[in-house]
Point group: C2
């Protein structure tokens, strides 16, 4: 109990060290990412172990940390989204480097050719498409796909540039320095409640896990477990431009899964057993979020006035493709989560 509180303190100090080190190298991408990550991590710990901490202090701290990680994250998010959408456009255009697969008649090889030949279109194709995206941007794309790519590039680059300025401003603001000071104080002295040193961390960590389990139980996992359930595209043409409401519970689970992971880290410290399944589930949910946002970006680009029909068509295909990715990510999460339940009796 007490040792766990110390552990918690130690974890927070580690965060601070990463945080301040990153703050020193302000401006570099890696540092911003580290800063963002530690802000998110401290914020998560504050949330899970709230009863242990001085209430007024942590209520004041949390929104500041959320603001910081939110502001710092946007630039990277836009960059990753553009990359994802351009790679998808190339994949959808069948732009590949290796020789085309023989068509209808594949008499030679037969059964032996199937296992080796089959996955060519899958994992191997992705890096190839990305490579050719750099080599011959536009040349081999249809007019629509090329125009759609250019439109997305324009819109997302603009958004990224704005996010970059905002992040720079934030890092120079007095608001940021106040947060940094508080984190520095936190590293030396966590404002615990009087009862905290005697409190067991485990019930709080367990509560975080239970919140996660309850949220997962509310997900439509049965549907997600059936491949090609076409659920994610149900609102693909809906008049509502807002993010798909069906994605909400999944995003929520993504956050709860992260809180659970942080709580485990605070609880176990360096002795934390690696949970591969938790990792896989988290990755699936990250992919879910990325694809969901990329699909929304494609849909929103299609609402640009005066675009050519071919551009709009390509954006429609792209949107549906990313919604399909959303569905695939849910399936992957269901698979990972199911394994976890079987694995831990």
């Amino acid at each position: 109990m007490r040792s766990q509180a110390t552990e918690f303190l130690r974890a927070l100090r580690q965060h601070r060290e990463t945080g301040s080190a990153a703050g020193g190298a302000e401006g570099s991408v890696g540092a911003a990412r580290a800063l963002r990550r530690s802000a998110r991590r401290i914020s998560g710990s504050l949330h899970t172990f709230r009863p242990l901490l001085d209430a007024g202090w942590s209520e004041e701290m949390r929104p500041e940390l959320a603001w910081l990680s939110g502001t710092l994250g946007l630039e990277h998010a836009y960059e990753a989204r553009l990359e994802r959408l351009l790679a998808a456009l190339h994949r959808l255009s069948g732009v590949t480097v290796f020789p085309p697969r023989s068509g209808p008649s594949v008499p030679a090889g037969g059964p032996a050719a199937s296992p080796a030949g089959a996955p060519v279109g899958g994992p191997v194709a992705a890096p190839a498409a990305r490579q050719s995206a750099q080599q011959s941007n536009g040349g081999t794309l249809t007019v629509g796909a090329a125009k759609a790519g250019a439109l997305l590039e324009r819109q997302l680059t603009l958004a990224r540039t704005r996010a970059h300025s905002t992040a720079l401003q934030a890092l120079g603001s007095s608001r940021f320095h106040a947060v940094a000071d508080k984190v520095a104080v936190l590293a030396s002295e966590v404002p615990l409640t009087p009862a905290a040193p005697a409190t067991d961390l485990r019930p709080l960590a367990t509560a975080a896990e239970e919140r996660l389990t309850a949220a997962v139980a509310a997900l439509p996992l049965v549907t997600a477990g059936h491949p090609y359930n076409a659920e994610a595209l149900v609102h693909g043409l809906s008049p509502d431009p807002a993010p798909h409401p069906q994605d909400g519970p999944w995003h929520q689970v993504r956050l709860l899964l992260r809180l659970h992971r942080y709580a485990r880290e605070a609880q176990y410290g360096d002795d934390l057993p690696v949970d591969v399944r938790l990792l896989a589930a988290g990755q699936a949910l990250n992919r879910h979020r990325d694809a969901s946002e990329a699909a929304a970006a494609a849909a929103s680009a299609a609402r640009t006035p005066r675009i050519a029909p071919a551009t709009a068509y390509a954006l429609g295909v792209l949107h549906a493709d990313q919604r399909h990715e959303v569905e695939a990510a849910r399936f992957a999460f269901q698979q990972a989560w199911q394994k976890q339940i079987v694995g831990t009796p």
Copy 2:
């Protein structure tokens, strides 16, 4: 052997009876379908048991039967394609009758709500969407989806009307009457080769099965067995307006599967054991064909000059959706086929 030849004869006579009965009620949809089916079936038997039949006669007969079933099939194909695309447009617009599902926060119910609540979006949604498609066509769709639906309706109805006239002309033509006469002769006397009565049917049926097995072995079943492999959309934006070359081998397997089924029927006659898995595999391949053609129809509609961007966008989403259906059908086929191999040691 000899009894099998009689069996074959008897099967052909049955075909003829269906065929002539249907020919008598010329014009009605059901009759045309029956006529088409029997033409296809005779043609298939001619193909599989070719060595038993007078070569000149069957070489002459086959293209005539193919012409007949092709001509008669087109009208129905256009009708089914339009229905499929309109249903998909409504599904994609989330047009449903039942109350909307509660969004991000589903605190009540929790674990208990999941098994019952989950499949709501799946099988239940489909008939509901179709129902509302009849009730409120257009009213709840976005402008783009409604316009896309109207465009598809115009184009496919025109194609269907043309196919209808062509079919009517065909049924009144001397070419049709010549085919009908030949089928009538066939019913009373199959022009077998002198060696035919002593020939075993089984090797020929086995050869048909082997052709099927070899074609299936050449399919990328390993990829198809991984849900969400995104293979079917690889050429979703390719500049080539031709049908997807990757679909060819699957269409080929569909035909070979049908020939195999007919050969089994001719071999076993009324004692034919029902093969549920063969049925499931065949249905998956039919769905594959339908979705592939529907996707092509959406892509081709998007190439109509002077359409609104919103229409093109909706057609893009629709195209991608149908290509997902193609991928889903391949997955279903892989599952059905895999079961078959496990089931028959």
